[in-house]
Amino acid sequence: MPDAGVVIRGGTVIDELGARRADVLIRDAHVVAVANGIEETSASRVLDAGGCAVAPGLVDLHAHLREPGREEAETVWSGARSAAVGGYTAVVAMPNTDPAIDSAAVVRHVLGLGAMAVCDVRVAGAITVGRAGERLAPLAEMAALGVRLFTDDGSGVQDARLMRRALEYASDLGVVLAQHCEDDALAAGGHMHEGEWSSRLGIPGAPAEAEEVMVARDLALARLTSARIHFLHLSTAGSLSLVGAAKSEGLPVSGEVAPHHFTLTDADVAGYDTRFKVNPPLRPRSDVEAVKEGLRSGVVDAIATDHAPHALEAKEVPFAEAPPGMLGLETALALALTELDLALDRILALMSWQPARIAGLTGEHGGPVTEGGPANLCVIDPEARWVVEPTRMASLSRNTPYGGRKVTGRVRHTVLRGEPVVIDGELQR
């Protein structure tokens, strides 16, 4: 069947090459023209982009899609829908599933589940078997299936010797290890950031240093091995300062931050609402400011959602018993546009082409929007004001802490491999 084509009309194309007023013609999953005044043929579909940015689709380095094992909270299919609504054309699914994504078989399974989804689903493999931190998982077998990121996310690799070996082994394969930095012994029993609010609320806390000691250790290991490390969800001023210094030194490291760590603080836990329980925990204002500064200065390479769906009943328990995590895919861009004092092209760098590079997706995702390139795009209305409504979300779960929050900036259309999967904010399938 011949592809009639899609025209995205009236927008401003923004990608790594800059900004220019242009219409975009898409055919056969590719961009075939970027020019002013593209005439649509009678057969082509027209997507209105008036007042909007036409950008490479967003790329999320950090989404928990819960399948296999927790299908009541999210599936690869529903998580991909949630991602598409949020403007993402690619997400990296975290391996803390049940069973963990620690073998070629599970990688194949999850990639298969994502094959027909409305967002390109990639997976991160586990560094250790069962994410137990004891034995190295078969990284090469997973890398052969296209896995480019490996992490035990949900916990950090505690054993420094094992982490060293993993870094050495990974560098041979040309893949990147991503660390969830948390020293288990120092963080033990903590359910929120340790400080003024945990002391007042009587909730056992974990100190910022539980994150920072592992960042410092891994930077030393990066120096030792010359291997690349990506730091997941950095959340403290101390961590950012360590990573900033390491970058100045020339170490091959990158880092991401999550939207909640530049939006919310530990004071938000005061109502004991378990939707505000997340790991790393919400931090004090001074850390929030450091995260924002890291985004401005370039110490931070990516905004990643840490989208962590949980079923209602899982969160309706005492704060100390609730699992950490909050939804992120459908609110990340709006929070970045609302909370950060950054130009749209900077935010797109942090949410599209820079994470695409870290995930090894350059060429497929992250643009640029040029003739012959893949048509993985999102159309963003940066001025649209809206109110977050949990019940309207595409995710199977509802554990967003942002219900009722007024935000600015919304995804109008998302195009995956030439197919408009979201039009005017509505999923098309």
Binding site: E196, G202, P204, P318
Partner: protein
């Protein structure tokens, strides 16, 4: 009380605390009667929902409810809600469906009474949530101090021991300071909260230095598991630094009060002889607990029925 619940001492403020203490006086009188029972809450149902063992507090609340002629129900759930199968919310909604007026909650996790208040129309009374708060303990402590001193205004209260893990200390600090007392926390740093920012208190690590000026010494219970968490090396070392030994008791002013929320580890927080001194008001704390809880239940459930003077009609 204007708030339908008693979750935190902060809900009351100084005026609310004064109101409870005033009404408590009437119930102390009731408790002294041959038949210590009034019909104030006849037809009302008070449920105690205890997720943590606490014979003392539960009995105190249930006795208070019965003396007000309320019906009482008791749910003691010692297994954790996650292993038990029924969720906290389901349990609360089940109880709520029975038609109840108040639920008295004890849980090992901070914040649970706040969550429960969102799931029931009944008044929720916090009988201890994790390390966080235990408001009625603070109220009975204020009442006990007031029986011996006219006011807390300007009193020097020294709180000694495991403040970090103590809901008694958190509620106590709020209540004592609301009524104008000056509070000093004395503990090894490992047993203090990570931050006391925003707490209107002094902090000291030298008990000998603060005892001579103290009007009240409030000793907190030390749980045995604190040793396994590397917070203190041995009980002996703790007692020598922070226990109210006979030698230390001699440093106190003659009329200084010695208090403890119970149960006491005799020989650890406080020497056995010291608890028997006249200045020890530990058993009075227990006795006053019932009257204070009667006042709280009365104000929450029959507040509108108070006479013009604000005193309960206790015919």
């Amino acid at each position: 009380m204007t708030n339908p619940n008693l979750l935190s001492v902060a809900d009351l403020g100084a005026d609310g605390i004064e109101e409870v203490l005033r009404v408590t006086d009437s119930f102390v009188e009731v408790s002294a009667r041959a038949i210590p029972r009034v019909p104030a809450l006849r037809g009302r149902t008070v449920v105690s929902l205890f997720y943590e063992c606490s014979t003392r507090t539960r009995l105190s609340f249930e006795t208070a409810a019965r003396r007000l002629s309320a019906d009482t129900m008791n749910f003691t759930i010692t297994t954790s809600s996650t292993t038990k199968g029924e969720s906290l919310r389901d349990t609360v909604e089940t109880i709520d469906a029975m038609g109840i007026d108040a639920v008295v909650v004890r849980h090992s996790a901070a914040g649970v009474p706040w969550q429960i208040a969102g799931w029931t129309e009944a008044s929720v009374i916090n009988a201890g949530d994790g390390w966080h708060e235990h408001p009625t303990q603070a109220l009975l402590d204020c009442y006990t101090i007031r029986r011996h001193r006219k006011t807390l205004e300007g009193l020097r209260i020294v709180v000694v021991g495991d403040v970090k893990h103590s809901r008694v200390a958190r509620s106590g600090v709020l209540a004592f300071t609301a009524l104008g007392a000056e509070v000093t926390l004395v503990a090894p740093r490992t047993l203090l909260p990570p931050s006391t920012e925003g707490w209107p208190v002094e902090v000291s690590h030298d008990l000998d230095a603060v005892l001579p000026k103290a009007d009240v010494v409030y000793l907190l219970r030390l749980q045995n598991e604190r040793m396994s968490e590397a917070l203190i090396p041995t009980l002996r070392e703790y007692t020598s630094g922070y226990g109210l030994t006979r030698r230390r008791a001699a440093l106190l002013q003659d009329d200084a009060l010695v208090m403890h929320p119970g149960p006491i580890n005799r020989g650890v927080e406080v020497a056995a002889e010291v608890t028997d001194l006249p200045r020890s008001v530990i058993t009075q704390q227990v006795a006053n607990g019932v009257a204070v809880r009667m006042a709280v239940l009365y104000l929450l459930l029959a507040g509108g029925a108070a006479s013009e003077s604000g005193e309960p009609a206790l015919a």
